[in-house]
Symmetry: C2
Subunit: 217 residues, 2 copies
């Protein structure tokens, strides 16, 4: 295995001690969500689009309509930057200056390439689906030929990526520690509400995918 490259582009500049470059830590940050934001350049202008993704090993898959402008542009080999961000809590210090957030974020730089092999395309769609809701792939009707053709899947190699993480309590100045201000952390998380059955659904029992998600949060 080659030594992990830490290019200038991914080296964390501000508060470098928050920088993380290990692939396992980065993968964990990817795997706790399915939403990313992708940035790219068209005619010199920056664009940004939120989209779902799935990860397997060193690859991020994204998908969408075969008519999607973003996918067509990225498919042509354009550079992209992809970000995933979790806000874990508000850091409430005694001074406003030291207010902060606990967060975990990853930025991945690279290029996308089109998945053309039919088996890999199906597998990629499963990976994205499973990232969004584990187990759902086996509960619903699989994509047919026409649906597969209407869908573009791209893959991005996780090669140049870095994470930035803040955890722990507020970092107040010593001189502020005696101020009579409540300080601490207000944790934040993504929650799931009561499932809403569609009127077309005759099945009352919740599927395993949802039951597991609601158990595990």
């Amino acid at each position: 295995m080659k030594k992990r490259q830490v290019s200038d582009r991914i080296r964390v500049k501000r508060i470098p001690e928050r920088g993380i470059y290990g692939r396992e830590d980065i993968n964990k940050i990817f795997d706790e969500t399915f939403l990313c934001h992708i940035s790219f350049v068209m005619d010199g202008q920056p664009f940004i689009i939120p989209t779902a993704f799935g990860r397997k090993e060193d690859v991020i898959y994204i998908h969408g309509s075969s008519k999607s402008r973003m996918l067509l542009h990225l498919e042509s080999g354009a550079d992209l930057a992809l970000a995933v961000t979790h806000v874990d809590g508000l850091v409430l210090a005694k001074s406003l200056f030291h207010h902060s957030m606990n967060y975990r974020s990853v930025v991945l730089y690279g290029k996308a390439c089109l998945v053309t092999d039919k088996n890999e395309k199906m597998e990629a769609l499963k990976i994205i689906s499973e990232q969004i809701l584990k187990g759902r792939w086996n509960e619903a009707r699989l994509p047919n030929e026409i649906e597969l053709k209407a869908t573009t899947v791209l893959k991005i190699q996780i090669d140049e990526a870095s994470a930035k993480v803040r955890t722990g309590p507020p970092g107040d100045d010593k001189k502020d520690l005696d101020l009579e201000v409540w300080s601490g952390i207000l944790p934040m998380y993504v929650g799931f509400g009561e499932p809403i059955k569609d009127s077309s659904s005759s099945i009352d029992e919740l599927p395993q995918s949802i039951l597991k998600k609601m158990d595990n949060g």
Copy 2:
């Protein structure tokens, strides 16, 4: 008031009926969070950085260390794209192809400019702070001269922005409606956990800002 401009850059291309251009609807989407992702171009490459923001009227404020690369770059008049995204639920259809998400997202295109006036800078920091946790500004120690100098505040005019929204049940094909698959919505939300008091804090009673946040979600 001039007629709202819908430039080609902000017109929603994929599924145009999900496009929203009204300022009030856009503001509501901004105001339900404090996290945005900002995309910009340096040396032809796309970059993306998550950051906090605050909105007042037609202006988005962001802030950070006066040494922040992103802020220095944006301050110089670079184009940016700023995105805010809420995922409101997973849309679970009977076919995997019609799986989707309910979401509300805004993308704003523009340029940032440096806030130099001291009063406006202080007011902008308050707007950002209040967007993150309403009421906190009056509970903690205000920024002093040195802290203000170490902080850069930029403002972005909300001029060219559009929202994309999906709500409602799955949109399955008619031929799939009889499939024995549970279909519906799994709602998602951002939750707040039990506050964790810092060891330096002698006050047990939670501040009003947190109490209100936990009441309102």
